[in-house]
């Protein structure tokens, strides 16, 4: 009998198969059949013929299903498109939107323009239209977008450690408001971070009115408020300084790392770099004198550097002050000059300052005691700098200190403690025993971004919103009002600080948007308010809101100065310990940020770690070596930490970078269950927050491995970074071209083309086939080594823009870091100390060599040079890397098979290979390959930070700097669409900014069209300082550098006629002195080192 076969499962896509006409017509009889477990007649399948027939049909259905796999199923998986139901206004998928906002950090803000893709922020840029910004940013701003998508963020409201809901939290906050309305806030204490927000100040003012007995405290583990304190004391009125390094011809830094570790560094870099830019002989440059303990970013760029222990900087300051101001002459006697400091250094430095009245600038660093700041203020006054290179603005005084709050807590006087941000259990001074003290409050409410070390000592824990998710406002250092505008709804329902404050205060307006608007109304006025508000959000600043400079006299507070006492200089048995703000994790707040952890420290080039830095001499006397773990004892407390010998560090000083060794920071900070780096906070007491004396060390016997990206410290006399002093540049402007094997003085033997370029026996494809060379655009880039200060903002910007993954400490140790751009940092020493140096010595012997004591430092950003005759292109077996018509060396990732021959052939080693699928595989288990996947929550979040315009590369593929090809293509497309029939397809100069260029606060990187002779990059390449790294290989790189020019003072005792690297080079390359004019053709061959 004929059986009706059961239906087979229908495919969702493709052609619908049917098994029988009954199924197709879906008759009731068929439905009856389909609903039964066995087809009717199954019980009758005793008959052989029927059973075989049945089995045949069944197998046919399996076969058809199998065919389905081969046929319709062979297609790519079905992908869906989900359009909007209603299109949001002004939004087009594929076209990014930009919103102006700002990043508040401590007392200031960085004005930003953030790129938003599909309603989420993906890239941070500076706001170039802000009156006090050139669009540059710093590493922290660039990396902050990754923090937004941090899977370890606080994502929930908790009460006593268990989940609570949002409404319950809000009820609790209203309860607090009610409770303290009854007694005017008695017993209510607020512990906050420093904030530049006028809205917070206004809300605080409203709460102070309602709860006059409430107490307010501010604590920042790294606090720059001393500048305001000193300026207020000196001026006699509440002011804070605003420095203008661009107006200064001579800058004296008293342990002030204004280029890196102080606040507002991106703005200070801009001002400083402006004074360093020169184009032709005769141009003037500024001069930087640095007196410091550590080798800091500012010290890296100094023309003259004096290294003294932190406690002795006051002696230098007093000595210089005595020379300049008769009022302060008596002070110098109290502070004897440290050993080894020449009085001439002081005298000449003072003379140079005095020679430039109103155009000099004296800066004191945050680690220095108040007295040094007062001296700096006095010096600025005496040098007539007030109002010129330093302006003063009205500044509100600070609130109570953490020590005062600890007293209240220990006295049981705190009923409710509200902690807004911060992480005091981790970073409070150890003598306050904060973990216990905080618990002494009856109720502790905290608003924080992570459930960190302080989480356990809180009752209510509220998740904080990232600044990219928040409404608010801030003021930049010049006083201009800037908005904090959210680009995305809080991902995890986080709250902003002003909202929490408003709720606790029981104020009417609790939504941060409304609060910010109210504040704006108070500042900008009510007429045309909506227009002004819209413009404010659009521009990213309120025009005309900069602070008016306040007149300040030239005097100082002699009484406060008189109170300063000298501190004994450190010695071998009484070492001095300095607590420093780390360049990667700040005070510890970025410990869980992968980009910042993997960012090589600008000085030590160390990733994923911190180390105790010591000088060579000190290490030698104490018997310390790199990688040794030592125990450091200060005031009865001790920690263990690994040693690293740092060239240029002051003797008998131990530098301890703060911010590491956190116990509860997240999956990056607590990688593989451990903790990145060591914690220096346990040594820090409230009386010695910045430096402590009387430290002792002992070797524990353990060792620690570091992962540095640059192990070799010396250039070995190779002219990779070329520099000269200003005098040499003026006399021999083309010195940079006269170095190395392709030096102009030496190239008589090289056959030349008519235009002077070396003649190649192989005809370049651009010449043999003109169709291959675009006549519209030819891209090139120029990096000015005079402007580059080595801040590494470009590295993080490139990582953010190009979806560059992090690889983890172990892989960095194998040299597999993925940064497309790196900053090479070399130390150069005095020639007479180096003459016995063996260049073949292993890198771990460098720490013992004498030349590293007082080195000069040179930095150079290194990325793909985009050579016209690229050595990488000719060796690729699959032609994955090619040259395009516009001069770019292009990488087709899908073609690459991973032979790595191109990286082998690249002389600059700028190509990076994906050894593992760093994006998809967990960093702690890379070697498991496809067997391991990341935890789902972090992968979903990490995907959001990726730039959709750039491919995310997989394992086995080579990648490298592409000159931001996505930005180039987008600009070309926009120009072509705009051009229409006009044929005006050339992109105007300045439209395309590569990510590194846009992030650089010093404007050191310039990209553009070299076919356009008027473009900025063409003009820079015309300069006499222009040279190509490894130019003798004749690969014609499109990326050229402008040689560095130092500006030392010939009268200074440590004046050297040549910068160390030039000295090294001339000593090594005996017949290639760039400062000797090339011989006339036909002259004798033997050249002597001529006088210069």
């Amino acid at each position: 009998m004929k059986t009706i076969p059961p239906p087979c499962p229908e495919p969702d896509n493709g052609v619908k198969y049917f098994r029988s006409l009954e199924q197709l017509s879906d008759t009731p009889e068929f439905q009856d059949w389909a609903s039964r477990e066995f087809p009717a007649g199954a019980s009758e399948l005793k008959d052989e013929t029927t059973r075989r027939h049945f089995v045949k049909i069944m197998s046919a259905s399996f076969a058809l299903a199998g065919l389905g796999i081969l046929g319709a199923g062979c297609r790519r998986p079905e992908e869906k498109i989900y359009p909007f139901a209603r299109q949001p206004e002004g939004y087009v998928h594929g076209v990014p939107q930009y919103f102006a906002t700002s990043m508040p950090v401590r007392g200031l803000a960085v004005p930003l323009l953030v790129k938003s893709d599909d309603g989420r922020p993906t890239k941070i840029e500076g706001n170039a239209t802000h009156p006090d910004s050139n669009g540059g940013t710093d590493t922290f701003a660039q990396a902050s977008v990754l923090s937004l998508y941090d899977a370890d963020r606080a994502q929930r409201f908790t009460q006593k450690g268990t989940n609570a809901n949002r409404e319950a939290a809000f009820d609790f906050l209203s309860g607090v408001a009610k409770q303290f309305s009854a007694n005017q806030g008695d017993g209510l204490c607020f512990l906050m971070e420093r904030s530049p927000s006028p809205s917070r100040a206004r809300v605080q003012g409203l709460i102070k009115q309602k709860f006059p007995k409430a107490r307010w405290f501010i604590y920042e583990p790294v606090d720059f408020d001393v500048q305001r304190e000193a300026a207020t004391l000196a001026a006699g009125k509440p002011v804070a300084p605003y420095f203008k390094p661009d107006a200064a011809k001579v800058i004296l830094s008293l342990d002030c790392d204004f280029i890196g570790g102080e606040e507002d560094s991106h703005r200070m870099i801009r001002g400083f770099a402006k004074g360093r830019k020169i184009s032709k002989p005769g141009d003037t440059m500024n001069r930087l004198y640095v007196v410091e303990t550590l080798m800091s970013q500012t010290g890296m760029n100094a023309d003259h550097r004096l290294r003294v222990a932190t406690s002795q900087v006051i002696a230098i300051a007093a000595a210089i002050a005595a020379k300049i101001s008769p009022l302060l002459a008596g002070l110098a006697a109290k502070f004897p000059l440290p050993a080894g400091v020449k009085p001439e250094w002081i005298a000449e430095c003072a003379k140079d300052l005095q020679a430039n009245p109103g155009a000099s600038l004296v800066l004191a660093g945050y680690r220095q005691p108040l007295a040094v700041h007062l001296l700096a203020n006095a010096l600025n006054g005496a040098l007539q700098n007030n109002g010129k290179t330093v302006e003063f603005q009205e500044a509100a005084s600070s609130e109570g200190s953490l020590a005062q709050l600890a007293e209240l807590l220990n006295g049981g006087q705190v009923d409710t403690l509200v902690v807004l941000g911060g992480n005091p259990v981790y970073n409070a001074p150890v003598d306050l025993d904060w973990a216990k003290s905080q618990r002494k409050a009856k109720t502790v409410v905290r608003l924080a971004y992570y459930e960190d070390e302080t989480f356990a000592a809180c009752d209510w824990h509220l998740p904080a919103a990232h600044y990219l998710e928040s409404w608010g406002d801030a003021r930049t250092s010049d006083g201009t009002l800037v908005p904090v505008q959210p680009l995305i709804e809080p991902l995890f329902g986080g709250l902003t600080e002003i909202e929490v404050l408003a709720r606790i205060g029981g104020l009417d307006a609790t939504k941060p948007h409304d609060i910010a608007r109210e504040t704006f109304k108070a500042i900008a006025g009510t007429d045309l308010f909506e227009e002004k508000w819209k413009k404010f959000l659009h521009d990213g600043f309120l025009a005309g809101s900069a602070a008016k400079p306040v007149e300040v006299g030239a005097g100082t507070n002699l009484a406060a100065l008189a109170a300063a006492t000298a501190v004994e200089a450190p010695s071998k048995d009484k070492l001095e310990v300095v607590f420093t703000r780390d360049y990667s994790v700040d005070d510890g707040r970025y410990h869980n940020n992968g980009w910042l952890q993997e960012l090589p420290d600008p000085i030590t080039k160390m990733t994923w770690d911190n180390a105790v830095l010591v000088s060579r001499k000190t290490a030698g006397e104490l018997g310390l070596k790199n990688n040794q773990t030592i125990k450091i004892n200060v005031g009865g407390r001790s920690i263990e930490a690994p040693v690293w010998v740092q060239p240029g560090l002051a003797d008998y000083t131990l530098a301890l970078p703060l911010g590491y060794g956190r116990e509860r920071s997240g999956r990056i900070g607590n990688f593989k269950g451990g903790s990145v780096g060591f914690n220096a906070y346990p040594l820090r007491t409230s009386t010695a927050m910045h430096f402590a004396s009387g430290a002792k060390v002992s070797v524990t016997g353990a060792t620690h491995q570091f992962s540095c990206t640059q192990d070799h410290w010396s250039m070995e006399g190779r002219p990779i970074i070329r520099e000269a002093n200003l005098a040499q540049f003026n006399a021999h402007p083309k010195f940079a071209k006269n170095m190395d094997m392709d030096a102009t003085a030496n190239d008589a033997f090289i056959p030349k083309n008519p235009d002077g370029t070396p003649h190649n026996i192989y005809k370049h494809p651009y010449e043999s086939n003109p169709a291959l060379k675009s006549q519209t655009h030819q891209w090139g880039m120029s990096v000015d080594l005079n402007s580059c200060v080595g801040c590494s903002a470009c590295m993080v910007a490139c990582q953010s823009e190009n979806n560059i993954p992090i690889v983890g400490k172990e892989q960095v140790g194998k040299g597999r870091e993925m940064h497309w751009i790196r900053i090479d940092r070399y130390y150069t020493g005095l020639a007479e100390l180096e003459k016995d140096k063996n260049p073949l010595v292993a890198d771990d012997q460098q720490q013992f060599e004498k030349w590293i004591d007082d080195p000069q430092v040179v930095t150079q950003p290194m990325m793909c040079q985009h050579c016209e005759s690229a050595p990488c292109e000719s060796v690729c077996p699959v032609n994955a890397t090619v040259h395009d018509e516009e001069g770019l060396n292009v990488m087709a990732y899908n073609r690459c098979v991973g032979t790595r021959y191109c990286s082998n052939n690249c002389a600059w080693k700028v190509r990076r290979f994906n050894f593992f699928d760093y994006n998809k595989r967990p960093l702690e288990n890379l070697y498991a390959g496809p067997m391991a996947t990341r935890k789902n929550d972090e992968w979903e979040l990490l995907k959001l930070v990726k730039n959709p315009d750039v491919t995310v590369r997989m394992r086995g593929v080579m990648e490298k700097c592409s000159f931001c090809l996505q930005r180039i293509e987008q600009a070309k497309i926009s120009q072509k669409v705009k051009a229409g029939a006009s044929g005006d397809v050339e992109v105007p100069d300045g439209t395309i900014k590569t990510a590194c260029q846009q992030a650089c606060p010093a404007e050191a990187i310039v990209f553009g069209n070299i076919l356009d002779k008027k473009s900025r990059v063409s003009q820079l390449k015309e300069q006499s300082r222009d040279y190509a790294v490894l130019g003798f290989l004749d690969t014609r790189p499109r990326l050229t550098y402008l040689a560095r020019v130092r500006n030392p003072n010939p009268a200074m005792p440590d004046y050297r006629e040549l910068p160390n690297s030039l000295d090294e080079y001339i000593n090594k390359a005996k017949n290639m002195d760039p400062l000797v004019e090339p011989p006339k053709p036909g002259a004798a061959n033997g050249k002597k080192k001529g006088a210069h």
């Binding site: 790519r76 359009p83 909007f84």
Partner: protein
């Protein structure tokens, strides 16, 4: 020694060699034909959640492509229209028709209609619609006579060869910019070449054949 191998194994190496060549040729030819986009992608015509007919809307009613695909001139991505675009007419025309139930639901609740994507290039290829649509390339060049399709199917392979064929000789495919959405517009090959060359010259069409144009 006795025979270890029977006599017929004498022919085995030759048979294996011939067999390998035949199998290799078949595999190569098979892959060449069946596994390229021209075979696997052309004709792809999935079932869509809403039976939208371009033949009626774009063909019969003469609606311009850009009325719905509004972002094609601004962005790399040509958008599927939002439900509110459909409701512009369909809140009056066929306003209770069961075929449009999903559209009405989407417009009312915001729930997106799960359209099935038909034309897709790999993720490492960055194609930009706006630069093509604004510079003389008609929709029909890549998408075919959509205005005659009741159900959209893919008519061109959209492989790299396909893109390069046009990029190498754009004059064969360029047309006046106001005729972009006129899918039936045609002109004889000689005039096309002439006009195309002029267009290429006047507009400075630089259809890059280099990897950097699409692969980032």
């Amino acid at each position: 020694m006795s025979d270890i191998f029977p006599k017929w194994t004498n022919w085995l190496p030759l048979k294996i060699a011939i067999g390998a060549v035949l199998v290799g040729t078949a595999a190569t030819a098979g892959s060449w034909y069946y596994l390229t986009p021209k075979y696997s992608n052309v004709g792809y015509q999935p079932v869509q959640p809403v039976a939208f007919s371009h033949a009626i809307h774009a063909g019969q009613l003469g609606m311009d492509c850009r009325y719905c695909h509004s972002a094609v001139e601004k962005s790399w991505y040509s958008n599927i229209p939002t439900a509110s675009t459909c409701m512009n007419c369909h809140n009056q025309v066929l306003k209770d028709d069961p075929k449009l139930a999903l559209v009405r639901e989407s417009a009312a609740t915001g729930k997106p209609i799960p359209w099935v994507q038909i034309h897709k290039v790999p993720d490492y290829v960055y194609f930009n619609h706006s630069v093509h649509v604004n510079r003389g390339v008609s929709c029909v060049e890549c998408h075919g006579r959509i205005d005659k399709m009741d159900e959209v199917r893919q008519v061109q392979p959209l492989s790299m060869t396909f893109c390069l064929d046009c990029h190498r000789h754009p004059e064969n495919h360029l047309r006046p910019p106001d005729k972009i959405t006129d899918l039936g517009w045609q002109v004889d090959p000689k005039t096309q070449k002439q006009n195309g060359e002029k267009f290429k010259h006047d507009w400075k069409v630089q259809s890059s054949q280099n990897c950097s144009a699409c692969h980032r």
